[in-house]
Symmetry: C2
Subunit: 295 residues, 2 copies
């Protein structure tokens, strides 16, 4: 392998991905489950060295390492304090002291918002990666996930953003609540869209509609996949009710092309929103490349 | 001990309680964690015999056993099919075949509602116990719990009811979601009532308000107990928004006097509802006594 010029790292709560880079070119990639949630502050450096392994043999000294994500949280490796919005996506990382002199580590900060109180770590780098190829974008980015983010972008700045715990609630309710008996698998798109309409149109009914999923399963024997899709629809519908100021009348890009991203596009489309999706593959790395080049 | 005349049983998902009874008098009480969730249909009889133990030595043969709760579910001991509302609280149980001829087991049915789809098992017996001492009650009963029930009672009948998964959502969000880092303990009543007002007044904002609990904890270092109480308030407020047709302008009795019941009373009181609480101690047993006497 060509000697790496620098290392890009996406250090999340449950996973870490590292890329050996030459400029914007990927030389090699490794990952592990040594996410922030598993490590004490003192253990990150060793975890990184293990992942780098033989890449260090040919690398320059010191080797630049640019990290985004939860490694910069207060309970992570080294705190990279939030930058308050409105602001451009941060490209200058916080220097992290290391015992191994071969490393030159920087962690990119996340973003914060005072009112309503909100934070992000990692998604700002995805936003930076998207803007790297669409610098003139003026509109709203939706980043579906465990904690879905909506961000209003204008003149290269993140103007405001809002986080919805929709993905985490879906996981908890479908896997650990009484609904798990009714939402095991399957997908019924009509039931999903009905759920979106009901969750958005009658958000007050949400907590009762949840239990009705179970009751209907006991009383009516609905088609397989109905309850799971309706649960997802109710949750995304409730989110669309709360995020309406973000998507109504805006140019919306859903930054995901997997099944969750497709669900958001379908839900927004059904509300008459102007929406398109963009592939996320490579967007985090593009953000890290931008930060590396900014030096 | 006096020989028991009959046995009362409250067989829930996670626990079972049995009482040796003489008429309406309690002779002895036992319980175990052999709830419905742990047992196959074939294992209930042995679990019951173990709990009865030496009570059987002096009991009449056959010994009447009256059961309420999840033992009557399809995946329980023996299905006691739901009775559709509107109806009086059922007092006639479904006979359960047993191998041991010393037992005469009956399981009380739960209630169902077609639209909106809903079910209850166990709470109907609490309602029956409440009505045993307040036969003329005309109003709304709120039964707080994992799955809080609201029931409209008129002329001794359950007219309609609705279930909200508020308690289960609170448990999942406060113990298993990212909010667990912010909602470990403590209680701030003002934060609870603010949460109720926000959850009820702006139900669409619910999913974003959840994440703000975490963000505020990271950004503002709020007083201890603030986030936990506000989470409970947001959930109960969302429930009050959805259950408004039940409590608005009605005579409401919260059938619980523990801390959860007190929270519901405080939340309803803050909305100007006419509300009082009643002790639940003995109310399930009173319902079982009513069923036993109805024979």
């Amino acid at each position: 392998m060509t000697a790496p010029e620098w290392i890009a790292v996406d250090w999340g709560t449950s996973h870490v991905r590292v890329w050996a880079m030459n400029g914007a070119t990927i030389l090699a990639r490794r990952d592990s489950d040594q996410g922030m949630g598993r490590l004490h502050a003192s253990e990150f450096e060793a975890a990184l060295l293990t992942l780098l392994g033989d890449w260090l043999d040919t690398a320059p000294v010191p080797l630049p390492v640019v990290i985004c994500g939860m490694a910069g949280a207060r309970q992570g490796w080294h705190e990279a304090p939030y930058i308050p919005v409105p602001c451009e996506v941060p490209v200058h990382g916080v220097a992290v002291p290391t015992k191994d002199a071969r490393l030159n580590v920087r962690i990119l900060p996340g973003l914060s918002q005072a009112k309503p109180a909100d934070v992000m770590r990692g998604e700002e780098t995805q936003i930076g990666g998207f803007l790297a190829s669409q610098a003139d974008f003026d509109g709203v980015l939706c980043l579906p996930g465990t904690h879905t983010k909506w961000a209003h972008i204008s003149a290269r700045e993140v103007v405001s953003f809002r986080t919805f715990m929709t993905g985490e609630m879906f996981a908890l309710l479908s896997q650990q609540s009484v609904l798990r008996f009714s939402t095991a698998d399957g997908w019924d798109k009509a039931a999903f869209l009905d759920g979106v309409a009901d969750g958005m149109g009658r958000p007050a009914g949400f907590a009762a509609e949840l239990f009705s999923l179970r009751a209907r399963d006991l009383l009516e024997d609905p088609p397989k996949g109905h309850a799971r899709a309706r649960l997802s629809g109710l949750l995304i519908g409730l989110e669309l009710a709360g995020s309406r100021p973000y998507w109504l009348g805006q140019d919306v890009v859903v930054l995901s092309d997997d099944s969750l991203g497709q669900a958001y596009v379908a839900a927004l489309d059904a509300q008459g929103a102007v929406v398109r999706s963009a592939a996320t593959e490579g967007v985090t790395l593009a953000g890290l490349v931008t930060a590396f080049k900014a030096g």
